[in-house]
């Protein structure tokens, strides 16, 4: 355990050092990413005003809060995408990882965890500007701030496991991007990324309850916005643990078979 903590700490430190080298690229990446929620925010705020001040209980101030918190949650759930997996295998980087006496999952998990600290530091001034411009309504309670801090990392783990599993398809087919596009569409619809889930049709909310997407997105945002009761918060955190463990179970289940397959794809 001590050795693993030492590894995570060292790998995270290294990720921070590396990502500081890419600070300009990271900023442009973040600015590009922020365009998406700002568009949603402008559209939904306009709709809310046109409907007399709110839509489904969300005022323009609530929408501003939702989409500003959205930017933090989105930064926190950046993980190794299947697009990168293709290069990861083809360029032989996975070979180098496999030579080490440590599952490559740990290296990636720790690396992206370290990256988050750089992204959060860069996000703060952008969040300040968005707050001044859009005037969010955000009055969280202390318990929900604490639960939000845990859920941010829980959401990261859920999305990490899902996309790691998706990336593992690369061992069987060399073009996994098509699967990712499908995943992205489902995520957009069922996660609360496009719009708060409570504004979606009833059937979408019912289907979303059986899928993992909202636990990496909408749940975390609604937690800070004070839309959830303590019981709902606990249920959500439990769902994050459940989906993370389920993802880990399937990663372990398919990993040996994937490595056997790796032989045939290239190293």
């Amino acid at each position: 355990m001590k050795a693993m903590l030492d590894f995570y700490f060292t790998q995270m430190k290294m990720a921070i050092q590396q990502q500081i080298q890419y600070r300009v690229a990271n900023y442009f990446y973040m600015i590009g990413m922020i365009a998406e929620p700002v568009i949603y925010l402008v559209v939904w705020s306009t709709v809310a005003r046109a409907q007399g001040g709110s839509v489904g209980g969300y005022t323009p101030g609530d929408f501003a809060a939702y989409y500003i918190v959205w930017t933090l949650v989105r930064n926190m759930n950046i993980v190794l995408t299947p697009y990168v997996w293709e290069n990861y295998i083809q360029r032989g980087e996975l070979s180098m990882e496999l030579l080490r006496p440590l599952h490559p999952l740990h290296a990636t998990l720790a690396y992206f965890s370290g990256w988050k600290f750089v992204m959060i530091a860069m996000w703060l001034p952008i969040a300040a500007i968005l707050t001044i411009v859009f005037q969010p309504t955000l009055n969280p309670q202390l318990w929900s701030i604490a639960a939000f801090a845990v859920a941010l990392w829980g959401g990261y783990l859920v999305r990490f496991m899902l996309l790691w599993l998706l990336g593992m398809i690369t061992f069987w087919t060399t073009r996994v991007s098509a699967f990712f596009e499908l995943y992205f569409t489902l995520e957009l619809l069922f996660s609360g990324r496009l719009v708060p889930l409570s504004l979606m049709p009833q059937w979408v909310q019912q289907v979303a309850a059986f899928l993992p997407f909202q636990w990496a997105f909408g749940f975390t945002i609604e937690l800070l916005l004070g839309k959830l009761t303590p019981a709902q918060a606990l249920y959500g955190l439990g769902a994050q643990v459940f989906w993370t463990l389920l993802g880990l179970f399937f990663v372990n289940l398919f990993w040996r078979a994937a490595l056997r397959r790796f032989s045939a794809v290239g190293a």
Binding site: A3, F7, Q11, Q21, R100, L259, A264, A267
Partner: protein, 342 residues
């Protein structure tokens, strides 16, 4: 338990060898089609596959502390073998045991004792100094801090890395990067080194430096080394034993000198004459003429007779009989292998 002879004639048993492989095979199934749109459309309905025998039933043993050159032309199966021995690839058939472990099981205790250095692959992070990547390796291999510091200092001194390890890796020359890569691969003091073209693309001075380092590492830690290189100078400097592989099969396993003996049907006679314009074609094939120095190639069995005749017929001031350069012998072996496989 059955034993077998290695190049030096010593009987080896699996439990004595660091590396023991028997009838190891690796076959790939690859899709295949003709060029063009018609073939592309046709392949949608009827896919053709071909079996490639990358490694085709090879067997050998390597003893603790032994350094062995693994030679073969491109596509011979060298890298595939190294990848199977380091646990990256699953063999199709056969047995491989390295340090008492089956590599494909990828046990942590096994991975902690080996390293694979590939001349064209990076393990160091690109944007930060190598020292930071070394620190990560310390955490991965759980090297105690005191031992880690001693090893890093030692490697820095041996490879002359003082300034190199403090610069971002992207700012290093190819040779500097390679030295830094090798140091990074040895921090955990592996007992088996798989070196795949470790000197590729390096200048002669850097090649020599890396060779000297590998020899020193082998001497200090008694590590076994399996080395592939297209530079015969690497092999000549480091390995007394070579294994030649071609089309996935072993053509030769034995001493380097034995390779020349077995595969070279020629000898080289170097003459020093007052006049190098004399016609010597009746004695043998003239390979070069340079300021009174002539190099002749003659059949090995005829060497004594032709030497005597040259000394009797010509005003020779100096004469030496040599084996042909090892590169030529290897080229000859590969050519023979290709003919045999055709």
């Amino acid at each position: 338990m059955s034993g077998k002879k290695n190049g030096s004639g010593k009987i080896l048993y699996p439990d004595q060898a660091t590396i023991h492989i028997t009838q190891l095979e690796k076959y790939y199934i690859v899709p295949e089609r003709e060029a063009g749109l018609r073939a592309a459309v046709g392949s949608l309905f009827r896919r053709k596959h071909r079996e490639i025998k990358a490694v085709d039933g090879i067997s050998f043993d390597i003893l603790p502390g032994e350094m062995v050159g693994f030679l073969g032309p491109n596509g011979a199966g060298k890298t595939t073998t190294l990848k199977m021995l380091s646990g990256l690839l699953y063999p199709t058939a056969g047995e491989a045991i390295v340090l008492g472990h089956v590599p494909s099981r990828r046990e942590k205790t096994f991975l902690r004792q080996i390293t694979l250095v590939m001349g064209q692959r990076n393990q160091l992070a690109w944007d930060i100094p190598a020292l930071d990547s070394y620190e990560l390796n310390r955490a991965i291999y759980q090297i105690p801090r005191g031992e880690f510091k001693r090893t890093v200092d030692e490697l820095i001194e041996l490879l002359d890395l003082q300034d190199i390890v403090r610069k971002p890796v992207r700012n290093l020359s190819l040779g500097e990067r390679m030295k830094a890569e090798i140091a990074g691969s040895l921090l955990h003091r592996p007992q088996v080194l798989f070196l795949d073209e470790p000197t590729i693309g390096l200048d002669v001075t850097m090649q020599r430096r890396i060779r000297a380092f590998i020899a020193e590492y082998n001497r200090r830690f008694g590590a076994s080394v399996l080395l592939t290189s297209h530079y015969m100078a690497d092999v000549v400097a480091l390995c007394r034993r070579v294994i030649v592989i071609h089309h996935g099969r072993i053509l030769y396993d034995g001493g380097l000198s034995g390779l020349v003996e077995k595969f070279s049907a020629q000898k080289t006679i170097v003459l020093t004459l007052p006049d190098s314009n004399i016609d010597l074609t009746s004695y043998g094939a003239v390979r070069s003429k340079d300021a009174g120095r002539v190099t002749l190639q003659v059949p090995k069995s005829e060497t004594s007779r032709i030497t005597a005749q040259l000394l009797a017929d010509l005003p020779i001031s100096d004469l030496t009989v040599e084996d042909p350069p090892i590169e030529e012998v290897i080229e000859h072996v590969f050519a023979q292998g290709a003919e045999a496989a055709a």
